[in-house]
Symmetry: C2
Subunit: 203 residues, 2 copies
């Protein structure tokens, strides 16, 4: 607990967070496979070999960035008003995720096609946090279905995956590239079509 050690540790943590910010942005911009370690080092302004003093491989570097993303997600989940209806909390999480996506800070889902996926599912810091996020969302989904806010027609598992998938929906990129809508309009378009659907509503 000496101040020197603590100071050094804090500088160390700070440096690593700057690295993970860069990784997070590059993962969002080009994905894991197209991201090169040289790029990360260049963006941070240090040498590649120095990066490997902090993270022992490219895969663990990306995994740490994904853990950081899930920690931020848990922060958002923790600051939602407890009085809000479950379905409103779900919509709030989707809106936050799409906003992050539009800001270029939402790494793509580790798809079944990604070389990163196997690493992540064997990386306990990642799976622990993913489980926590899943538990929160699943609880809200079941509550909302019981209350009649969410359709009981869809299995809770399918709803969960759908919500996760909306965070990296390429529709956001295409609408943003089109330039016809503001970011906040795009957020409402994606959250709106996701929850209300494309069909006209009877009522």
């Amino acid at each position: 607990m000496e101040p020197q050690l603590t100071l050094r540790e804090r500088q160390h943590k700070l440096r690593e967070d700057v690295i993970l910010q860069a990784v997070n942005r590059l993962l969002a911009e080009k994905g894991y496979d197209l991201m090169t370690v040289d790029e990360v080092a260049a963006m941070v302004g240090i040498a590649k070999a120095s990066l490997y003093k902090h993270f022992e491989s490219k895969e663990l570097l990306a995994a740490a960035a994904m853990v950081r993303l899930l920690d931020r997600t848990l922060e958002v989940i923790g600051t939602l008003p407890p009085s809000a209806a479950p379905v409103e909390k779900l919509q709030a999480v989707v809106r936050w995720a799409v906003r992050e996506h539009l800001r270029g800070e939402m790494p793509s889902l580790p798809s079944t096609r990604s070389a990163l996926r196997e690493t992540l599912i064997n990386h306990k810091p990642y799976t622990d946090r993913l489980l926590k996020v899943t538990e929160h969302l699943s609880g809200w989904i079941e509550a909302a279905q019981t209350r009649g806010a969410l359709s009981p027609r869809w299995p809770a598992e399918a709803v969960l995956y759908t919500i996760f998938a909306r965070a990296c929906d390429p529709v956001a990129d295409y609408l943003q590239d089109g330039g016809a809508y503001s970011d906040e309009e795009i957020v409402e378009l994606i959250a709106g079509t996701c929850f209300a659907g494309l069909l006209a509503r009877p009522s």
Copy 2:
């Protein structure tokens, strides 16, 4: 028009279609960046150098596979019953696309992150067919909105992108990996949540 020339041309076309089938499957399985030309050659059973006699680069090889996909899409569009309602045609296209996805034959959308995107938007055979598909779908979308089948709340452009995106929705992969649902159930889950939404419907 000599029979020999025609035969050789037909063999040539047949060989190229076998190649493009393999490329299509690999593009669906691992995406453009992770697909190697060696893999394509191995799957077809010819040497890599022979591939380059048919297609002059990896990018044009992938582009040809994407053109083939759009041609198959136009075939599906062409065989839909003209008497069907526009919204039913849209749903039929989505269902067909998800089925192709589940069979492992739906290459991912050329996302803004892909190295392939710039090649595709400058490749006229691709953009021509993409325009045709877009024109068909856009016509149905506007007709369905006029008739009150699709919600007028969403811009037609957003509906179009949403329908395209459902063809490569990672939700299909996650549900299929879970093993709890048949392929046809997954098709209905994705098409159903896309059109009807997650919310309970008032009526």
